[in-house]
């Protein structure tokens, strides 16, 4: 039995209502732990005064420069002593989950055992960077808790100016829209950058995220410095049985309003079966005895919408890989940046392709480490130096897929134009 609870009139109001309550969970933990009794008191104080009271510091484990998020209370009495003394330290340990966040129950139970023993017992699945967040631990218990997680085979996540924990979608394990082996790419990339994850020495953070298709379930384009988003080059596949089944259930109005007219590049047409074009870039599928969908894959931008609506009837192609976009991040300090195309199509089929992906990551991180200013993300660096300089720095060719449109102002010296044209022509001739 733990010590008596502090009154928590604000938090108590977060126990009503149908959604699972984190407060009820904390109170369960507080029955056995003085630590969590004081965590609840600490949080209630924040609710009453509408301010946060944790400050950072330096806490780590042997051999690592990051991965523990230290928190020390700032709620002190007149003598400078912590008011909630059992919760004076409330550190978080970031552990990298298995790629795709798949678990067996034995692993989760073992993690619960460790955190019940050494920590508060509170676990966030998962933090926004993609870590398992073991929340609430004293300085003394950080090392033994970490030792247990590490013995289970798990490793520390990133924090500070380092390569961060990666994230990958449910992926090829369960999703028909997967265009590469996300978990394989994720695992290989993280294993290359372990030193950069565990010993922060970069200008600022660098995040990798792996989404298997352009639905981008990992939100990689907006939240990662290097987004690896699955795509395909060849024609979409079709399945007549599933297409007819879909059409029989949904009918022509839904087909027109929800599929054909929502294609962003008008690549889909409804045709009489006899009129469907037979050229190499056409995918088609019969909807009934007389009508078919005709898709011109040269016009298709692989947005996924029609595949999302008619799953299986329409499907990704088989010449698969990823589009790689660089430089996504949120607001601070120059404003939001989307990742932008650095490699329109990166083949991901055999082991060598995956090795090449890791090498590209290494090249980009090396360039970032050398050229970014302190506290500057990759996207901000590219904004400062220009995409062409960045591409030349990492040895990638320019491509018209990298822009929404060519330049809209004349403020550039084009003296080298003829030389560039000659290079392009020479390359064409050699191809």
């Amino acid at each position: 039995m733990a010590k008596p609870m502090h009154p928590t009139p604000n938090l108590d109001q977060l126990e009503s209502g149908p959604w699972p309550s984190f407060v009820t969970g904390l109170k369960r933990l507080a029955k056995d732990k003085d630590y969590v009794v004081d965590v609840l008191g600490h949080l209630e104080h924040s609710y009453q005064t509408r301010k946060g009271y944790w400050k950072g510091g330096t806490v780590g484990v042997r051999g690592y420069g990051g991965g523990v998020i230290p928190r020390f209370t700032e709620i002190k009495d007149d003598a400078g002593q912590p008011v909630f003394k059992d919760a004076a330290e409330f550190h978080t340990i970031r552990i990298m989950p298995p790629p795709g966040m798949h678990y067996d129950t034995a692993t989760l139970r073992q993690m619960c055992d460790v955190w019940e023993k050494y920590g508060s017992g509170l676990i966030a699945l998962h933090g926004q960077t993609g870590d398992i967040m073991f929340q609430g631990c004293t300085t003394e218990n950080v090392q033994p808790a970490w030792d247990e997680f590490n013995k289970m085979g798990f490793d520390m996540g990133g924090a500070g100016p380092s390569v961060r924990t990666g994230m990958s979608c449910v992926g090829a394990a369960r999703c028909e829209q997967s265009c590469y082996d996300e978990a394989k790419a994720h695992t290989m990339v993280v294993n290359r950058f372990l030193d950069d994850i565990h010993r922060p020495a970069l200008p600022y953070k660098f995040k990798f995220k792996f989404s298997g298709c352009p639905n981008d379930c990992m939100n990689s384009i907006q939240r990662s410095d290097m987004a690896i988003i699955g795509t395909w080059r060849d024609n979409m596949r079709t399945d007549e049985a599933l297409a007819k089944k879909w059409f029989a259930k949904h009918g022509m109005n839904e087909l027109v309003n929800d599929v054909v007219s929502r294609c962003p590049t008008k690549a889909i047409q409804i045709k009489e079966i006899k009129d469907v074009r037979k050229t190499g870039s056409i995918s088609s599928v019969a909807l009934n005895d007389t009508q078919a969908l005709e898709i011109d894959n040269k016009d298709c931008v692989r947005c996924m919408h029609c595949i999302n609506v008619m799953t299986g009837a329409l499907a990704t192609g088989v010449d698969k890989g990823a589009t790689i976009l660089i430089g996504g991040k949120r607001t601070l300090k120059i404003g939001d940046l989307m990742g932008t195309v650095a490699v329109p199509f990166f083949k991901l089929q055999n082991d060598e392709d995956y090795e090449n992906l890791v090498e590209l990551g290494q090249t980009i991180i090396d360039f970032f480490a050398e050229n970014a200013l302190e506290h500057e993300r990759t996207g901000e660096m590219i904004e400062r130096i220009g995409l062409v300089n960045f591409l030349e720095g990492i040895g990638l060719e320019i491509d018209a897929n990298m822009v929404n449109s060519p330049r809209m102002n004349p403020y550039v010296n084009t003296l080298g134009w003829d030389e560039e044209v000659a290079k392009i022509n020479a390359k064409k001739a050699a191809a």
Binding site: L14, G17, P18, W19, P20, F22, R28, Y47, G52, K55, R71, P99, G100, M101, H102, Y103, T105, L108, R109, M111, C112, W115, G121, L122, I123, A124, L125, Q128, N150, G153, D155, V170, A172, A173, R174, E176, A183, T187, N191, L194, P214, D216, I221, Q222, R223, D239, E254, R262, C303, M304, H305, N308, T311, G312, A313, A315, T331, L332, G335, H375
Partner: protein
Amino acid sequence: MSQPTTSQPQMRKPVEGFLDNKKFLHPKFVANYGNWKYHDRPRPGVLHHVSHSGDQVWTVRAGTQRQMDHYTIRRLCDIADNFAEGFVHFTIRSNIEFMVSAEQKVAPLIAELEKNGFPVGGTGNSVSMVSHTQGWLHCDIPGTDASGVVKSMMDGLYDEFKAEEMPNRVHLSTSCCEINCGGQADIAVIIQHTKPPRINHEMVANVCERPTVVARCPVAAIRPALVNGKPSLEVDEKKCICCGACYPPCPPMQINDPEYSKLAIWVGGKNSNARGKPTFMKMVASGLPNNAPRWPEVNAVVGNILRTYKADARPWERLSDWIDRIGWPRFFEKTGLPFTKYLIDDWRGSRANLNASTHIRF
């Protein structure tokens, strides 16, 4: 010669390395890895995947509170062992998924989850769980709590989580400062400070690396100064945009304020490439009070936007697609939200957000 005794513990050398996920995958996932054919949704909260091999897997998705006590996780594991097949998957929005290889296991699994207070839903065109941050519980710079805002929001959106009645999927996020760790979403709730930082000049020299703090300011409003004979920093309050960027590197520049740290609502973020290109969200309301513990003013605005979208959008229109069709004036008209001068962008590149056309809906 005997070894000197020492209290120094034995040093364990850490094992660095990242695991492959194969041993954590449901056996059907291993057997059909990369070979799935299609999926459908037999009912809200359930996904049914069919492989080219003919194998089938049913996935049941349930909402969680994200910050879970170990008792809750053990309960979920019990359910996974007794009513599913011992493997789970977590979504990016902290939903837990249970996989079963026989359809008849679906109904008892759902019943057990609901009996234990875990709502089943969050699939397809539902309102899924809020992607959120740490807040007062753990963060060192939070303007508000995260788990509490989320709990109050999801209590109100419980039925929308369990049903698939929205025009398309709805992703929500909350963030306790303008760094926006919660991320882009169809609707996001984010702290918006309205007063410049209050500086504790006694502490700046001891705690802050002053050139770093000066460099961190997006509008160059911070400069070094000598205050009461001590090296400190000062803020040009006319230039300050109250973003809070100076606060993480310099905690004596306190930006959080119980009254003047407000909440803003943003809409129309979309990371998927489906239909239009991905979009960033736009601010549509601000100045809402940080009214713990249940934030009724915030929830009223979010609920209003969701109801308006639900009633007015066409199938498959995400919030951003809907606004593209109806236009911003009608968004403000239909939601009743005031369009104030603060919503007209004046940050760099802002002219691209102005209407350079005669495209006006009358």
